[in-house]
């Protein structure tokens, strides 16, 4: 047969892949929305990453008018070293954003983060880490809160899931 595919007969040939990198390092920003998840994110940040950066929204404050969007949007993040960073700038320089919350905790910061993501056209993944003793109602409440804002919402019971996911995403 003349077709190229017919020549790809051995498993070795069919499995051939060119050995050049097919992507560049991404800039992933991981933001903890509450104190419990901040602890988790802090631990994860100790692992070796391909440039992923980790923040908490602990000192989160939306300056200016509440609900401000577009150029009026001002809010602050704290990085792992305790430095205060501009949310909008961090998001502007990211490829995508991951927010993490513990079930039942205050996750309101997500709305401002989502505004910033929308402003800069970045996609937002939200992870709920139920933590020990979280009730179904807590999980549902967190999900209801995050639902309007994330393209992908994940409930991750396994304690090591967040780092597994970041690894899978080459963060």
């Amino acid at each position: 047969m003349q077709s190229e595919s017919a020549r790809v007969t051995t498993a070795r040939e069919a499995g051939y892949r060119i050995q050049y990198p097919n992507s560049k390092t991404r800039s992933v920003k991981v933001i903890a929305l509450d104190p419990a998840s901040a602890k988790l994110v802090d631990e994860i940040s100790q692992e070796p990453w391909n440039g992923a950066r980790f923040f908490t929204a602990l000192s989160f404050s939306a300056d200016g008018e509440p609900g401000a969007t577009g150029a009026g949007l001002q809010a602050w993040l704290q990085d792992i070293a305790g430095r205060t960073m501009s949310l909008v700038e961090e998001i502007a320089s990211s490829d995508f954003v991951v927010v993490v919350t513990s079930a039942g905790e205050d996750a309101r910061a997500v709305s401002v983060i989502a505004d910033a993501c929308a402003l800069h056209h970045k996609s937002l993944v939200a992870l709920v880490a139920p933590g020990e003793g979280a009730s179904d109602a807590d999980v549902s409440a967190s999900m209801a809160h995050l639902r309007p804002f994330a393209r992908m919402l994940v409930i991750a019971h396994a304690p090591d899931y967040i780092s597994a996911m970041l690894t899978a995403l080459r963060a």
Partner: protein, 428 residues
């Protein structure tokens, strides 16, 4: 992406490998009932999890799945005569029953007891829902029978087919939970396929090409919810269940039969893609069954006399560039089953996941791999029976429904996600 060691860990299912041990905890589809239609019919060669086996139905109708090769000098018992409650090897006449026990060695006096000393490896084979199931693990761990709804409804309500797929099981199974491909690869078929078209819910699919996803764990595996905006402050949800390790369900459409797959490793480079279609509350109609036999829906047409698809890699899957250009099919390949199979086979015999670039919406796949790895490790290190073995985990149903926007589908669709006898599927 996965590291090479992780990829090998997940893809290899031969005896003694961690995933191989895990697969050997479950009942798995091995053959269609139609392959062994009657007592003393021809035996069938079966390869599963890297083991070459032979299935047969003896004179009394008993089913056996045994080592393919004769214990005497190693010829394939596929050549054997199936007669008088056993397979007799045509070479020197040794005979084996459905348990693999040698029952006759003609060269030795019966009284010597020689035959009793010889036994081929065998596995239980049971018939359920038109499918012959086997369990290839240690006998002391044999679980209760499978209870997937498609194999427990009356036979006139269910139809299963299988096709050989020339790639590793994992990339095939991942296609079953990769909800984000449906709007692309299969977009032409929603409106045209007799087993899909006409459902009220289809307009939500076609109206919104970028669904939003929510992934939640359940006892046996995962639920992957894809939602699209619907009227009246509701979402249209399509919920795909995955039961570990390799059962996936496609969310239903209208009153069409419900379908899904089992992805069973043959060896590391090939798998059986099983496709089931059933209706919980009514017999399948003649035209539905005919459509399934004609390769519509998720089924395929075959090279006559085989379970190899008629469109296969040797003929470039009958690629139709004109149909692709005109948009009748998105990929140029006809039929949902072959659209999936062609692309999954193109990934190579074992997909090199060190090179992939996943995105956030691939979390269903990421989490499935993560759960598989954890479960295989827990089994190996602590003897923990993996999720999906318990028949209660099989009684999950795929669903397509409208829910208010603030409702978590695991709660809002609680009833809909459970298989209940005599209760119609939740579907729009």
């Amino acid at each position: 992406m996965l590291k090479k060691e992780q990829n090998d860990f997940l893809c290899q299912t031969d005896p003694g490998t961690p995933m191989g041990d895990m697969f050997r905890c479950y009942w798995m589809p091995a053959l269609l009932s139609e392959e062994l239609p009657e007592p003393d019919c021809p035996p069938v060669r079966v390869k599963l999890l890297g083991e070459r086996l032979l299935a047969f139905r003896d004179s009394e109708g008993k089913l056996g799945l045994i080592d393919e090769f004769c214990a005497h000098r190693g010829v394939s018992l596929w050549f054997a005569r199936n007669e008088d409650c056993g397979l007799r090897c045509p070479y020197h006449g040794w005979k084996f029953d459905v348990t693999g026990q040698c029952v006759d060695v003609p060269s030795e006096p019966k009284e010597s007891g020689y035959a009793q000393k010889v036994k081929l490896k065998s596995y239980p084979l049971i018939e359920k829902g038109g499918v012959l199931w086997t369990y290839m693990g240690p006998p002391e761990r044999q679980p209760p029978e499978p209870m997937f709804e498609f194999c427990t409804v009356p036979l006139n309500q269910t139809f299963s087919s299988k096709r050989i797929q020339e790639c590793n099981w994992l990339q095939a199974m991942e296609g079953g939970i990769d909800s984000s491909h449906v709007s692309w690869l299969h977009r032409g078929d929603l409106a045209n396929d007799p087993l899909f078209k006409g459902a009220a819910g289809n307009r939500y699919n076609l109206g919104d090409m970028s669904p939003v996803f929510e992934i939640v764990e359940n006892d046996g595996g995962l639920l992957i919810g894809a939602r699209r905006n619907a009227e009246d402050d509701q979402y249209y949800w399509r919920i795909t269940p995955w039961v570990m390790p390799c059962y996936t369900g496609v969310p239903p459409r209208g009153d069409h039969p419900i379908h899904g797959h089992f992805w069973v490793p043959i060896d590391d480079h090939s798998c059986w893609a099983w496709s089931y279609d059933y209706h919980p509350t009514r017999p399948l109609t003649d035209s539905e069954v005919q459509a399934m036999k004609d390769g519509k829906g998720i089924h395929v047409r075959y090279v006559p006399g085989t379970y190899r698809p008629l469109a296969n890699k040797d003929n470039d899957y009958l690629m139709d560039r004109a149909a692709q250009k005109a948009g009748r099919t998105f990929s140029g390949i006809e039929g949902i089953g072959m659209q999936d199979a062609s692309l999954q086979e193109s990934m190579g015999p074992i997909c090199d996941r060190t090179k992939e670039n996943l995105v956030g919406t691939d979390n269903g796949i990421i989490m499935a791999r993560h759960r598989l790895m954890r479960a295989a490790k827990a089994l190996r290190e602590k003897g923990v029976i993996p999720p999906g073995v318990d028949p209660a985990h099989h009684q999950v149903r795929q669903a397509a429904l409208l829910l208010p926007r603030d409702v978590h589908y695991k709660e809002g669709a609680k009833e809909a996600l459970v298989a209940k006898k005599g209760v119609r599927q939740a579907s729009v």
